[in-house]
Structure formats: C-alpha cells, structure tokens
C-alpha cells in the first residue's frame, strides 16, 4: 500500500529525514517510536503534503501512485488521513461542515453520489456514539475550545467518518485519560480491515496494548534504525533508545 524509499526531507530549512525506508502493506498496523525531534511528525506532514516540508530525495509510492506529486486534498481523496499531533482550532468553521464537505469531496472523487442530510447525520451520529462524543460538538467550531483530549477524539471521529485506506496517527494517545485511550483505541480498531493500513506514531506501549501492531519501528536521526514485532515496543519501554542507537551505529 505504502512504499517509502530513501526519503530525504527538510522541515523548513532543516534537514530532518535522512534516507528513510518503510514498507506498509494492506491490512497491517505499524507503530513508529523514537526520541523527541527524531522526525516522526515531519514524516507524517510530508506524507500529508504540508507546505514548508520539502522532499529533497527518495520516493513515496501509495497504491501504485507517486504520492508526492499529489496535492493535500488529492491525497485525502485517495484515502490518506493524518490525525494531527496538534489538531488545529478553526473558529467559525463548524465541525459538522468539515465532516460533510470532506466526506462528500472524497465520495465525489470515488464517483459516488453526495450523501443526503439524513444519511449523513445517521452516519455521524453512529460514529459519535462510537467515540462517546456528545452531539453538541457537531455545531461547534472545528476544535474550538476543545480540551486536549477532546481534540484527539475529534481527530479519530473524522477518521471514522472519512474511512481512509491509510491512517497516520501522530501521537493520538498523548493527552488522553485512561478511559479516553480505550475509546480512541476502539475507534481505531473499528477501522482495521484487510484493505486498510494504520501507522501509529507513539511514545508509549500503553496504546499498543489496545491496538496491537504487526510491526514496530524505531525512527531516530531521520531514519528507521530498527524494526521488529510488537515485542520491540516492550523492550523499548524497558530499555529506552540508547541501545538501539548504539546498535545502529555499530
């Protein structure tokens, strides 16, 4: 589904990714862990097509297409979804407007008809229930005045409504209370299917207790320096990153 080869990228003026390789197959869940500042969010932003992040080398192929040549909205319509580490507050743009406009843009791209108001509301209500979100959130500005945890939940609500093929979750677990973590994990798990892939960026094993990854990677210094199965996350939790870095340097 996603094939990243030797990716080099700048965040602003700074070279952050130094030859990153990653293969994600359909149906798989990957966890990316790594020290602060190692380039995890940069990778996520590059994949989502954020301006100000410049690819200086390598390639990214998604469903056989050159992902990097697509605009952010084309990527979204092709099924790429990024849950932001820091979701953006947009006062004056309704949450429900964003959900509807996003969903209809994606459906149109797929050659499907726009959803009517009733179908749409039924769908959104069902997903809000899954996320245990009050319906009053629908008519508030996007993330406006939401608490940290509410913002993260809202990201997953959007994901649940838009049903992407490739979901990139950047520290969606940070800032969540214990119950919310379970709710968010439920939301993510409900999306798991053989034709979808999920990439989780996280610092903690906790999330991986709920969403079991098939592969775990360590991103450090702008590269994947070690990959393993879920036991790698447990080991990192116990031992930190130094030993992996030393191993990679050797």
């Amino acid at each position: 589904m996603l094939s990243i080869k030797n990716l080099h990228a700048l965040a602003g003026e700074k070279q952050v990714l130094h030859g990153l390789d990653l293969e994600v197959g359909a149906g798989e869940v990957h966890a990316i862990m790594g020290p602060n500042g190692s380039g995890k969010s940069t990778l996520a932003q590059v994949l989502a097509g954020r301006e100000g992040y410049t690819v200086t080398g390598g390639s990214v192929t998604y469903k056989g297409k050159d992902l990097l040549s697509l605009s952010p909205e084309e990527r979204a319509r092709e099924g790429v979804f990024l849950a932001f580490q820091y979701p953006v507050e947009i006062p004056g743009v309704n949450n429900v407007y964003l959900l509807k406009a996003g969903l209809n843009a994606i459906r149109k791209h797929r050659g499907e008809s726009e959803m009517d108001a009733f179908e749409f509301l039924t769908l959104v209500r069902e997903k809000m229930k899954l996320m245990q979100m009050d319906e009053s959130f629908l008519n508030r500005g996007v993330n406006e005045g939401f608490s940290g945890g509410e913002k993260k939940r809202n990201e997953i609500l959007q994901m649940a409504v838009l049903e992407p093929s490739l979901a990139l979750l950047d520290e969606t677990d940070s800032g969540l209370d214990i119950d919310a973590l379970r709710v968010v994990a439920n939301g993510v798990n409900s999306l798991r299917s053989p034709d979808r892939a999920i990439v989780l960026v996280t610092h903690y094993q906790r999330l991986l207790d709920y969403i079991e990854p098939d592969h775990v990677h360590v991103l450090s210094g702008g590269k994947i320096i070690k990959s393993g199965d879920k036991s790698l996350a447990l080991e990192l939790e116990k031992r930190g990153y130094d030993w992996v870095k030393q191993e990679a340097a050797a």
Binding site: A48, G49, R50, E51, S71, P72, E73, R75, A76, R77, F81, L82, F84, P87, V88, I90, P91, G92, V93, Y97, L98, A101, G102, L103, A105, I106, H109, G141, V142, Q158, L162
Partner: protein, 440 residues
C-alpha cells in the same frame, strides 16, 4: 497646481450647475433650498484627500464623470433577488418610487410610511422646514448634493410606543436606464418614544452600468426608542456609491446598524451617530469586501454628547485582488459626557499581496471618567488551518471560502433577521468561491 488640474476642478461645478438647471426651475421654497444646497456644494466641491475624513478615499474618478438626474424608469427584464419578502417593501428605481414593485402591508396604528414625494404633496411646508432644520447647516458637500438633487425617498413615522414587528424593506434598484445618471434617494425615519422598528436598505444595480448613487438616511430616535438598520450595498461593479447615515439618539434610545458593503467600483458609507440622551446606545457592525479593483470605505463617527452613553463597533474588512478597503472610526467624548463606555474593533483579512486595507481609529476624549477601547488587526488566511481543511479532502478554493466565511461570520451571526442573514451568507460564499476559482 498645474493648469490642467485647475481646469478639471472647475469642470464639475459647471456640469452640476447644468444638470441642476436642466432638472429644477422655479422659485418655490424647496427649489430655493435646493439651489442654496447646490451653491454650497459648488463652493466646496468634492472632498479631497487633504480632508482628514477622506484621507484614504480619492474621489477623483467620480469627480471627472458628468452624471445627470436619472428619470423614472421601468425595471429591467429580471427581478432583483429580494433580501426579505415579509413586511412592507418600497422600491425606488433609479431614485424614483415604482409602485408596481412595492408592496405595502397594512400598518399597525401609529405607523406612517410614505414616499418623500407623497409627503411633499401633503405638506410641502413641513418638508421644507424639516430639510432646513436638518440639512442646511450640517452635512458635507455630498449631502448638500443630495439635498439639491433628491427626487424621492421614504418617510417613516412611528408614534410613541409603536412596535413594528415586520421590517420595512427599502430597495434601491438602478437599471440599465441609469447609465450616466445619478440618483439621490433620501430616507427619513422618525421614531417616537419607546417605539421599535427594523429598516432594511438594499442597493442594487444592473451589471455593466455606470451610475452614481448618493443617498442620505436620517434617523431620529426619541427616548426609549430602538431602531435596527440593515444596509446592504450591492451596487453594480461599475457604480459609484456614497451613503450618509445620520442618527440622533435621545435618552435611552438604541440604534443598531449592519453596514454591509459588497458592490460598486467606489463605495463609501459614512455613519454619524449623535448620542444626545443619557443611556443611549449605538451598535455598529460592518463588513466590507473589496475585490478586483474595488475601493470600499467604511467611515464612522460617534459623538458621545450626553453622559452615560455607550457604543460598540465591530468592523471586518476582506480585501482580495487589488481591492482597497478603509475603516475609519472616530469617537468623540464631550467634556461633560462622563461614564462613557465605548468599544471599537476593526479586523481585516487580506487575500492577496496587492490588496490593501487602511484602518484608522480616531479618539477624541475630553472627559475623564470614560472607558474607551479600540483594537485593529490585519492578517492573512491561516496557512495551518488551510492545510488542515485540505487534508480532510476540501479543495483549496473550498477551504479558503470556508475560512473567509468564518471570518465574516462573526459579523453575519449578529444579524437576527434570518432571511437577510441567509442571503448574505450565500452572497459571501459565492463571491469568494468565484474569486478563488478565478485565481486558480
């Protein structure tokens, strides 16, 4: 000054004199008033940028045109989109009343709605004395021009304690027959004690037609009265539009205006609020959105004459293309006017590198026990928010339109007349979607 300039400034004097002589003869009291007003206009001429109140708005383009008085005319083939369909509608087409397009519902007792001409027919002496009292000494050059040339308008009288639930909707439509013509509509609203009414003014024009609208709207609100005023300027793209609003507020009277400027090549509204009675309150909400080569100027002047008076102003400007916007907010607090609370905010959004908005708060405070705050910001669309919306599948133009609409929404959401609010939201969406597509 070069010789060329001298000639050009002499020209409008002759042109307006000729236009006047062609339209108004006779020696009755009103014509004499008109003539005196024309003389005052001709002696000062159009305001220039040396005049502090016109610092950012150059009327040169208007000055070089020669407009003559517009005649009564039928409507062009297509009907305008009404802003609201309930209540009383009075249509002025090219400055003249068009009964066929107007619809008068039965007014509750205590409410009189007349055209200015009807009032003139009934009581010319009253009209003359009203105009004398209110216009002769006050009023800038362009208000004098209106007094000299006005054809018709609307007069609303509300008796004490009259509550009017339905709005009075005044449509100013310019048609293709208005090409090269000017109209000077005049609205007079006199609201008695504890009376309440909503006045909607809507200015529209036929595409491709160049014309000049120079309107005067006056409110006198007696003690405890309340007026809600919606003024939507959607003139044709080549039009010139200057609007003057003057409101006098007695004790505990309230005036709330929504000053929306979307149309015209060169447009300006000047709002003067005189807070003459203690406890009176003026609330000014404005939205101006110059695109292309438009120049739109929102000029406000609030005079806290009495103590315990309050005012709030919230203006937003959105400029794209080579559009120019101006917000000027003057607030005067008189020496004896203690316990004043006044708040002014001007926020502006620039959509292109060639757009410009000048904002100028002017506070003149002569009393010491006052609370006056003002703030102005100018910025661009938030790139992070744009990316966030696009990352959810919205096209760049939809994402921009959503953010622009959100910016305008803080003004539009204060409009409690649902059909007007809905019509304006639609206008704003279409306007900026179109602009974005043209840009792409």
């Amino acid at each position: 000054m070069s010789a060329v300039d001298a000639k050009a400034t002499a020209a409008p004097v002759e042109r307006y004199q000729a236009a006047f002589d062609a339209r108004w003869q006779g020696n009755d009291e009103l014509t004499a008033l008109r003539r005196a007003a024309l003389d005052r206009f001709l002696s000062t001429g159009f305001p220039t940028q040396r005049d502090e109140a016109w610092k950012y708005t150059n009327l040169r383009r208007l000055e070089t045109r020669s407009f003559t008085s517009a005649d009564a005319s039928a409507l062009d083939a297509h009907q305008p989109d009404w802003l609201t369909t309930t209540g009383t509608r009075i249509a002025l087409v090219n400055g003249h009343w068009l009964p066929a397009l107007s619809s008068q519902t039965a007014q509750p007792p205590g409410v009189t709605v007349l055209t200015l001409k009807q009032w003139l027919q009934r009581d010319p002496a009253a009209v003359a004395s009203y105009l004398k009292e209110h216009d002769q000494l006050t009023g800038n050059a362009l208000e004098q021009l209106n007094l000299a040339f006005f054809e018709d308008g609307v007069v609303v009288n509300l008796a004490d304690n009259t509550i009017l639930d339905e709005p009075i909707y005044i449509v100013h439509q310019s048609t293709t027959a208005a090409a090269g013509r000017m109209s000077h509509p005049r609205i007079v609203v006199r609201a008695g004690r504890n009376s309440r009414a909503t006045i909607v003014e809507h200015y529209l024009g036929a595409n491709e037609t160049e014309y000049f609208t120079n309107s005067v709207t006056r409110f006198e609100v007696a003690a405890g009265g309340a007026i809600a005023h919606f003024r939507v300027q959607q003139e044709a793209p080549r039009a010139f539009h200057i609007g003057h609003i003057q409101t006098r507020l007695a004790k505990d009277a309230r005036y709330c205006v929504h000053d929306i400027q979307l149309g015209a090549s060169l447009g300006r509204t000047g709002i003067t609020g005189l807070l003459e009675g203690a406890g009176s309150h003026a609330a000014l909400f404005g939205l101006f959105a110059p695109m292309g080569n438009q120049h739109l100027d929102a000029h406000t002047h609030l005079d806290h004459i009495a103590p315990h008076t309050t005012s709030e102003e919230d203006y937003r400007g959105i400029a794209g293309g080579r559009g120019r916007g101006v917000f000027n907010g003057k607030i005067i607090v008189r020496p004896d006017a203690q316990k004043i609370d006044s708040r002014q905010s001007s926020r502006n959004l620039l959509l292109s590198a060639t757009a410009e908005i000048d904002t100028k708060p002017e506070l003149e405070i002569y009393a010491n026990d006052v609370k006056c705050s003002h703030g102005a910001t100018t910025g661009q669309l938030d790139a992070t928010a744009l990316f966030y919306l696009r990352s959810r599948g919205l096209s760049e133009s939809d994402a921009r339109a959503a953010l622009i609409r959100a910016f305008a929404e803080s003004i539009l959401s204060t409009i409690d007349l649902a059909p007007v609010r809905a019509a304006l939201e639609k206008q704003i969406d279409e306007r900026f979607k179109l602009a974005n597509e043209a840009k792409a």
